[in-house]
Each structure stands twice: as C-alpha cells, then as structure tokens.
Symmetry: C2
Subunit: 305 residues, 2 copies
Amino acid sequence: MSRNSFGDIRVFVEVARRGGFRAAAEHLQQAPATVSEAIQRFEDQLGVRLFERSTRSVALTPIGEQFYARSLPAVSDIEGALSALDEEKDEVSGTLRLSAPYSAGPFFLDDLLARFAIAYPSVAIEVIYDDRKVDLLTSGIDAAIRSQTLMAPDTHAVPVGPELKMAIVAARGYLDTRGTPQHPHDVLDHDTICYAFGRGDRLAPWGFTRANGAFVVQPKPRLIANDMRSLLHYAAQGLGLAYVYAEIAAPYIAKNDLVEVLGSHLAPMPRYSLNYQSKRHMTRRLRAFLDLVKNVSYSSGTNVS
Amino acid sequence: MSRNSFGDIRVFVEVARRGGFRAAAEHLQQAPATVSEAIQRFEDQLGVRLFERSTRSVALTPIGEQFYARSLPAVSDIEGALSALDEEKDEVSGTLRLSAPYSAGPFFLDDLLARFAIAYPSVAIEVIYDDRKVDLLTSGIDAAIRSQTLMAPDTHAVPVGPELKMAIVAARGYLDTRGTPQHPHDVLDHDTICYAFGRGDRLAPWGFTRANGAFVVQPKPRLIANDMRSLLHYAAQGLGLAYVYAEIAAPYIAKNDLVEVLGSHLAPMPRYSLNYQSKRHMTRRLRAFLDLVKNVSYSSGTNVS
DNA sequence: ACTCATTGTTCGTTTTTCCGATCACTGTGT
DNA sequence: ACACAGTGATCGGAAAAACGAACAATGAGT
C-alpha cells in the first residue's frame, strides 16, 4: 500500500460525493491542484481509473462506482468517530478535586493521576493530601480516597489501587541463629528491615490477620530503605526479617536465598476506596476518572520507591 | 482537519491493534520513526492523548479506547474495499472482441469503448467493423452490435447507443421560395444539406416512418459537412433543407430562424442492439462491458462529428 | 458564432513528511 | 545486580506532497 491510500480514499470519496474536484477541494480545505494530483497518484498506484473526466466535468467509472459504494459508509463512520472524539475532548475539562491520604501518592495515586492527566489534557487536577474525614456534599471535593468506605448518604465507593500480597522473609542462616518466629508478635524480638516512605520519616506497618480481624505490628527497625529491592538484599545478607511485596520476593525464595516465615498470618495490603457522590448529573471529568479507575490494571510489581 | 487525518487514523488503529509502534511500522511497511512522529502529530492536532507510553510499552488511553472501538470497523471496511478493488481489477482482463457496423464507431461506440478502456486498463479491445451477420457461437466474437436484435439460440440483446429524435429544418425564406415539402419523397425535389461521416465518404440517410413501417430516403446533397452545427448554419442562411438532431435545432426553431417540416413523418434514430450469448460462465470483461452499457448515460446533444 | 465563467491540469517553488542513525529508558534473564 | 535486547523518541537530510499561478478546454448564455 502506498504512502497515503487512506487519505487518498477520503479525497476520492469527496470528489465522487460532490461531483467535481474544485467542490471537493473547497470542502477538504485543499488546493484544487492538490486534489487533482492526489487522485492521479492514487489511480496510478491502483492501476485503475476511478474517474473519467474532461476539461469541464467528472464522472465515476463503473469500477469507481463500486469502490465508492463500498468506501462511503466507512469514510462516513470515520468522520463520525472524529466528531465524537472532538465532542468527548471538549466536554472532559475543568478541575478534578481529590482528597487522598499521604501514603496513596507515592504508592499508586501519582501514577494514576499522571495517566489521567495524559489522557485528558484539558482537565486540571487538585489533590489535597489529608487523612481526615471529608464531607463530599459541602467540601467541593469530587472524590475522596481513603482506606475505608465512607458511610454517607448517596455516597458510593469503588476499590482503587493495587492489591498486593505481602511476605516476611529472612536468610536461612539468620533463622538458624535467631530462631524462626512462630507468631506475629515474635517479630518484635528480631532484627527487622522496614520500608520507609519518602525520606524515611514514615515507616510501613506490618499487617497481620487472625480469626477476629486484622491488626498491625510496628517493629523498631534495624535497617530501613525506600526501595524494596534493597530490603531484599539486606535480608539475603542475613541482616534480619524483611516485610516486602510477595511478588518481588518470589525469585529469592525460589532460589532458597530467602525463606518465608509467618506466611499464613499475613494480611494482603488492603485496597483503598474511592468515595464519590452518585449525583444525577455527574461531571464528565469525574465520570472519566471513574472509568479510568475501574478499567486500569496496575503493572505487576508496582514500584513504590 | 489536518493534512492527513485519515492516514493517521489508519496508523493509530494499527498501533492499537498490534500493541506497539514497531510492530505496527513493520505491518505498514514504514519506519518506526514515521509511525512515532505521525501519532505525535495526530495527537497534537486533535488535542487529545490516544496512547500512554513509556520507553518500553504502549497502551490506549480511555479516550483512545473509545476512538479505537469506533474506528476499527471502518478501517477494516476500507481495507476490504481496497482488496476487492484489487481483485476486480485483476480479474477484468484479457481481450474483448466486438463486431459492429461502420456507422456505430463515430456515432457513439468509439466514445463508449474509450470509457471502457479507461475504466479497465487491463482489458484489450478488438472491434471488427462489419455489417454482415455474425455467429456468436463459433466466431470468437464476444458481442455484436447491430441495428437489429439477432435471433439465435441463447442470444440476448440490450439496447445500446443514444436515442435521438431527428428534425428537418429550413429557413422561412427558403420555404417561401421553394415551397414546403408535404411528403417524405418531396425532399428529393429540394436542395438538401446532409451530414457526412468522417471525411465525407458516407452520408447519413434520412429516416422516415409511416403506417406500415420505416424507410429511408437518401437525397443528393447540395452541401455536406461532418458537423451538425455547420448544417444548421447553412440552413439558417436559406441554403436548403437540413436533416439534423432535433435537440440542437430547437434553439433555432424557438427563435424562428428555422422552421421544422415533415415533423410527424420522421422516425427517431433507432438504438442499436448489443447481442451476446448468455453463457453460464460469462467472462468478467464481457460482464463489465454489459454493466457499462446498461448504466451509461449518453451526454445530451451527442456530437457525432 | 462568440464571449465568458468555470472546470481539471501542469509546473516550479515551498512546505511537510519520511527515514536512517542514534539515543535514553526499561523489562527480562541470568 | 547486571547485561542486553527491544522499546519509543529525536534530528538532520532526502524525498514527497501541497500550493499558487497560469493554462487549455468546455458548456452556458446571448
């Protein structure tokens, strides 16, 4: 296929539709010479005459008639798709206002909002990082991300953010020396390697589950880092227990470089809730964001560094 | 709309379909840089991001998903139309062999065959000008144009060539001097202005009709020309009776520059018959020619010069 | 018959697109 | 942790397309 068959087909259809080169050129906002030359190149490349023409008129050949009949609906559909795109683009604009906990940003929300911003260049985004309760009715906030679903009138929630399994791992040598923890609180008696958010001012708590619910334990760490691969490295060197994403620990475990402990006691990282009011007339930007949230797939092994 | 939106849509659909720029480029037989730059220009022009991409992967944005869903069927249809065109072009080939009377060529057949040749560049055309009876079964002729329908087994006929009304006209002054002819044979007693085919070696007979059929009269002309407008000019100068197409005489009659005589006696120019055998497996080229013949409209005021 | 407005076409110049080579980045495999 | 294969992007030069101006031809109107 030549450089621009699709463009040529559009020109062809317009000439056939309007019965002349100059009328088509006007509609296409091109020079008449451009249309004439484009059709000539197209016919040469196809090895077929689509139009017969004299110095004052133009008509489709029989084969041109057939091609026109097949092309016109498709060209019309593409024109419709372009119009719909234009309408969609124009209507998704304004400012999207979100409230979210501090931890959500580096965890997944920054990436999510970057994707939304790319997809909808006409939308401005405001994120207020705040852990307090928010009243969606009066606050001017479009949606609030929290660890829990908000219980408020007309408020709906959808899960947002990745779901991650966690693991506690240690080197075999370390366990031989210090013993294997049997219960969650045992970790307090061990050297621990913890993940630190940002510049180390906030530590990730270790989440566990038991019959009557979930709870967290916050060990005093021997080592911290804001990159889970570093945590794995330290653990493999026998420096303690590390609380990390199960997915990135898996290769080490498979190689017996690390051993998982307390596996059945660990709670998966809970997904956040995106809480919003289900108004009759929801803004296009909020609806677009909800669509993105519902359909997004988080890349496996999300990097929270 | 930009210079090449349709071409860009085709590129866009291919990238989405194949999940990457390089794979799409390979299919489109373009350079990866070409695809990358085309998508960037397209997104800039639309004011919309269709893809999000990192240095190693690419995915549709939500708005890109919608646009893709709408565009893909249309792009597929256009690809199908192009394929069908290619097949049609390739299958209409070989040699079309016609037999026709001498008079048909300059009258309409030359123009008709020129249009067919333009529409189907891969078909060779052989015309044998011959007035004799032809046997379509044994002669190797695809179709025979004759004044009459051939009565032969499995032979069909369709009308071909324009249908034209004729008129005999003269200046009022001429008629005042020489009298108005009352019967067709009276024209033999008049100065006549006749149409000559080609270089004047063949004259057009004057056709009449009466109760028991049609007949022709061939006057000895005082003036001849191979352009009917010349014939009209001479008649208007009072030089005799002219036998011409009614359509081009009409303006002169309307202005009383010329007067029509023997109007009710004139036979319309009969349409020719295109005779062909209705075989089970008709060649594509013959079928294409029949399609052209059936659908062609002859330009009004056909110039037989 | 003649004039004129309008058509499609041509061609030299300008503008835009395509491409090869290279780069920066990333995910996979070891 | 590191090397490497493969990705999308960049950029200067080459190639192709678009255009303005002018031309030849034609049909309508007088």
